[in-house]
């Protein structure tokens, strides 16, 4: 492993949950201001902007103008919910190349408040012509198709999927920012209504509003930051398909296989060395397939791996310690929140949910319909 050259020095969320009077620009401004404050920096220090969203034809142009910055490097990579783990890798590469010094990564969404908005006038074009006419609700339907295939190939059960939701809720109970904090049982998950078989309502992430921001900078500036630098040790990203019928193997998260392999290789680490894992949990099946893909367990062993509440507080594999997309928040593209929680865990800022002696953290984002994967490995001195 070479000496890390980039570090996370600021993280923050905006208001989360339901924010009916806020715009995506206000949420991102709020989160960015707080993240820069966390870093001991200001908007004037930012010379690179990374954001992703479908709220503008060119989100970077709109956001930069709104907050009054003129970045000399900009990146609006959008590969779904994993975009921000990709941004982290791109920011690290740019810093390493000496292209900029202070990168601001932001996200904002008002999807919950927008829910009733009329989608009339939308046309399905290009490669979107072939699936929408069958009426499958997306993205949940695609993940349900993957879950069915995973169950068929490996014998994964609904109870095993439920283990993830139950353990994640236990972490959420210790996070005052989490939207759902009441304990649930495996029976509660199994008794919740079907959304798309084999996924029940409690196998599915929340639908919330929210914004967030992460500040990344050079090793030199990080040493003078307000808080302990969180070093970017490894990164990998990949995408394999866009439509679920074109996913090469519905029981294997191949994008995560590739991104995990590259991230671990860059960091010079192995899965056994990860102290805390933040794994994109759009649905419970996403987590099980990702754990297998990243090598925390063997192929087909994800269900057994999460059984017996092994990922819950006090268990041997602390995972999704914020309460995850399942219980904390999920404003559509959740990946940036994984980086925030991983950073806070490494800084030791997590209060009752703090994982003891956490030195190495992994954040893995999944986007689209298991289409993309991006993995970031973080560490502290």
């Amino acid at each position: 492993m070479t000496r890390p050259q980039a570090a996370i020095v600021g993280v923050a969320e905006s208001d989360l949950g339901r924010t009916p009077d806020k715009t995506v620009l206000q949420l991102q401004h709020q989160a960015a201001r707080a993240a820069l404050e966390d870093a001991g920096l200001g908007f004037g220090d930012v010379d690179a902007l990374f954001c992703a969203g479908s709220w503008s034809w060119a989100p970077n142009l709109m956001l930069a103008e709104y907050v009054g910055i003129r970045p000399k490097y900009t990146d609006s990579t959008n590969i779904g919910g994993s975009s921000f783990e990709a941004h982290m890798g791109h920011a690290m590469a740019g810093i390493k190349a000496g292209l900029f010094e202070v990168a601001l990564i932001t996200y904002g969404s008002t999807q919950r408040s927008d829910r009733s908005r009329n989608r009339g006038g939308y046309t399905f074009k290009l490669t979107e012509q072939y699936e929408p006419p069958f009426g499958l609700p997306m993205p949940v339907g695609a993940y349900a198709l993957a879950a069915t295939r995973h169950m068929y190939e490996y014998g994964t059960t609904s109870e095993q999927l439920a283990e993830v939701a139950v353990a994640t809720r236990k972490w959420a109970a210790m996070n005052e920012k989490a939207m759902l904090r009441e304990p649930i049982t495996i029976e509660d998950v199994l008794n919740s209504r079907w959304v798309a078989e084999p996924l029940h309502l409690l196998d599915c992430c929340l639908v919330t509003d929210g914004g967030s921001a992460v500040v990344v900078t050079t090793a030199e500036r990080a040493r003078n930051a307000r808080k302990t630098p969180v070093w970017v040790l490894g990164h990998g990203e990949a995408h394999t398909h866009n439509t679920i019928a074109n996913m090469p193997d519905l029981a294997t998260h191949q994008a995560a296989v590739a991104s995990g392999r590259d991230a671990f290789a860059m960091a010079g680490l192995t899965p056994a060395e990860i102290d805390v894992a933040e794994i994109y949990d759009s649905f419970t099946i996403t987590v099980i397939m990702t754990l297998e893909a990243l090598g925390f367990c063997g192929r087909g062993e994800g269900g057994a791996f999460v059984s017996g509440q092994r990922t819950a507080p006090g268990g041997p594999f602390p995972m999704n310690t914020s309460g995850g997309g399942l219980s904390y928040c999920h404003p559509g593209m959740y990946g940036i929140f994984l980086l925030i929680e991983a950073t806070r865990q490494l800084r030791g800022e997590c209060g009752p949910r703090q994982v003891e002696d956490a030195r190495i953290a992994l954040a893995h984002g999944t986007g689209g319909v298991l289409s993309s994967g991006a993995t970031v490995i973080l560490g502290k001195d």
Binding site: R119, F124, Y152, L250
Partner: protein, 136 residues
């Protein structure tokens, strides 16, 4: 009558037109690569397997197996009236996979690996979709 999206919401193009026109005539048309011979769906101008640019249209046999499936218990817009309904990824005997609905099938008989055959369902004045039924 299943829920539907008006054909006007589907923006056909020169890749897709033979497919949609085939459905209206009761044919499931897919492509085959002239170079590597693999079946390709959805239609496009490049083979995603070997990147050759010569593909031919073929009429699929319409026979396939259920590769995976789900039963949707909620759906958006006009599709909400259809729930519960079965959506599957069907592996055609030519080798390509496509999304479709499995219709007229008792829930307990829908399984991964079940053999199915295409059926053409006119879901609107100007839109025919390829659904699949279980083969008895």
């Amino acid at each position: 009558m299943p829920g539907q999206i008006p054909a006007s919401m589907l923006q056909q193009d020169s890749d897709s037109r033979p497919y949609w026109e085939g459905l209206a005539q009761g044919e499931l048309r897919i492509q085959r690569c002239n170079s590597c011979s693999k079946a390709v769906f959805y239609p496009r101008s490049i083979c995603p397997h070997c990147h050759a640019d010569q593909l031919s249209w073929i009429v699929a046999s319409g026979k396939g197996t259920i590769y995976s499936y789900t039963v949707a218990h909620q759906a958006f817009g006009s599709f909400a009236a259809d729930v519960p309904f079965v959506v599957a990824i069907v592996e055609l005997e030519e080798g390509a996979r496509m999304m479709s609905r499995i219709v007229d099938a008792p829930r307990e008989r829908v399984k991964v690996g079940t053999v199915v055959r295409v059926t053409f369902e006119q879901v609107g004045e100007d839109l025919t979709l390829p659904y699949f039924r279980l083969v008895e």
